[in-house]
Subunit: 324 residues, 2 copies
Amino acid sequence: MLYTDSLAANLQPWLDRLRNGDPLTLTRAITTVENRSPGWSELLKAAFPQTGHARILGLTGAPGAGKSTLVDQLAKQYRKQNQTVGIIAVDPTSPYTGGAILGDRIRMQDHFSDPGIYIRSMATRGSLGGLARATADVATVLDASGRDLVMIETVGVGQDEVDIVRVADVTIVILVPGMGDDVQSIKAGIMEIADIFVINKSDREGADRVEREIRALQSLAIRSDRWTPTIVKTVATEGTGVPELVAAIADYQTYLEEANLTLQRRVENWQERLVEMLRDALLEKARSQFVDGSVARYAAEVAEHKRDPYTLVEEIVGKMGKTA
Amino acid sequence: MLYTDSLAANLQPWLDRLRNGDPLTLTRAITTVENRSPGWSELLKAAFPQTGHARILGLTGAPGAGKSTLVDQLAKQYRKQNQTVGIIAVDPTSPYTGGAILGDRIRMQDHFSDPGIYIRSMATRGSLGGLARATADVATVLDASGRDLVMIETVGVGQDEVDIVRVADVTIVILVPGMGDDVQSIKAGIMEIADIFVINKSDREGADRVEREIRALQSLAIRSDRWTPTIVKTVATEGTGVPELVAAIADYQTYLEEANLTLQRRVENWQERLVEMLRDALLEKARSQFVDGSVARYAAEVAEHKRDPYTLVEEIVGKMGKTA
């Protein structure tokens, strides 16, 4: 690709175009980073110094919680305050086909006339994780492009989502009334990552019960920043509660700043991210050890019980140390 | 712990106790493997040669889909056929507290009188993934203990769950009618991992619509094994459809065996698992590079934008090659 071939030679003009919000430059940069195309690493290194401006919101919740609608409403609200918005919608798609669903195209039509809102869908990236890493890197590009606000929206409540929203300055967990008997256990799992709880579809029966359950669980948890997560009730389809959610987000950020915790939170996030980045770099190195289809041969030997996989991996790691 | 201290010296008697189904030996072995306590690696190496007997079922679905109830019903059904069952229930719990929910204790009471059913809950293991790996290792221990059937049950539909059920010989995806507007995208994401679809709570309105949607999506997908995933309707709370599900599982396994695909599937699974195991081993090595609190120092420098994380990680990996 001409764009990445000429990247090194044209880094400064490219950075200027990115910072000036040129949409084509932004889209190409994100694609390069997401696909790990040639030049992705140089691109991030160059973009990093001009990051740090954007506030990053992470939003997660179970399927059917109405995340997309809520994110769209939030975007509209922030646009009223003249803030530019980038949205990363992380979609649960097949690890085998790698195809993204087309939700972003449908949603883009809504905001098509407003260059102040940029929406990007991301699919899962293969079987070895890395989606959280890719999401964080795309957020870095959006930050470097001068967006005031980056929203990362992700489906589900598993470890993936915890990793994905870890990059955020503010994490919002979206619940809905009447999601069935497993909801209690989900809430227990995400108590600590939520800075703000949203009870969406709060016109449904059971919204007060969900609120009571959150409060009950909160009484058991102690946060290192001593913040008691706010609970905001919304009906995203009608925009109800969205201004209150914007206010709650601002309140939490004010709290962090007044308590001098903003940097501390980012340092903690970076601790995790650095270890993850190191792991990914080592995985690349590991994969290069499996040359000439040797992983297929090893896998066949293990599947046929001719070889024990635990000893095998120790041997490979030992050899790597010596030959690297 | 005396148990692991004396492990190396007493491996054969221990293996015999494990194979004979001694519950205390089994519980201790699983705890050792799950917590990566001293001796975990030797334990797995020793247990591996006596694995390969158990059939491994992976069950996943959204919160509220009724997975636990269905798994319990399946266990009862298999017990009627005199098969011994191990259940690994992977719970979405906090990455910070690491606490498991107590569901297994409640569920255990149901089966308390039957040593033929063994239930174990697993929590998430920190921020760096590894849960899929730990789950696979616990399945290995259960297999080595002589269980005829190991069921791995997990909440959610994200990448975590794909990794967790990858170890399975048969993967079952549980859907329910009326889960809201995001269901379509979830189904798209898990089409390829489902060997069998269960529509649970199928007495609810919309079960036929879910079935039609699965069929519509199936017409787009081509599986390498050419199997068309079965759809089974159940009402797990009443046991309805459970014998049909057991039959569908047997049908798929017969299909794989007649087409000589059982080994091929296991080889493919092991390819992924070997790379994951290598990654984990390298991560351990990576963590040991961050000595003397240097990760905290680096994270602070990055958070303050004094250092670019991408170059930093490259430098550390480069240095590892030389000093390892």
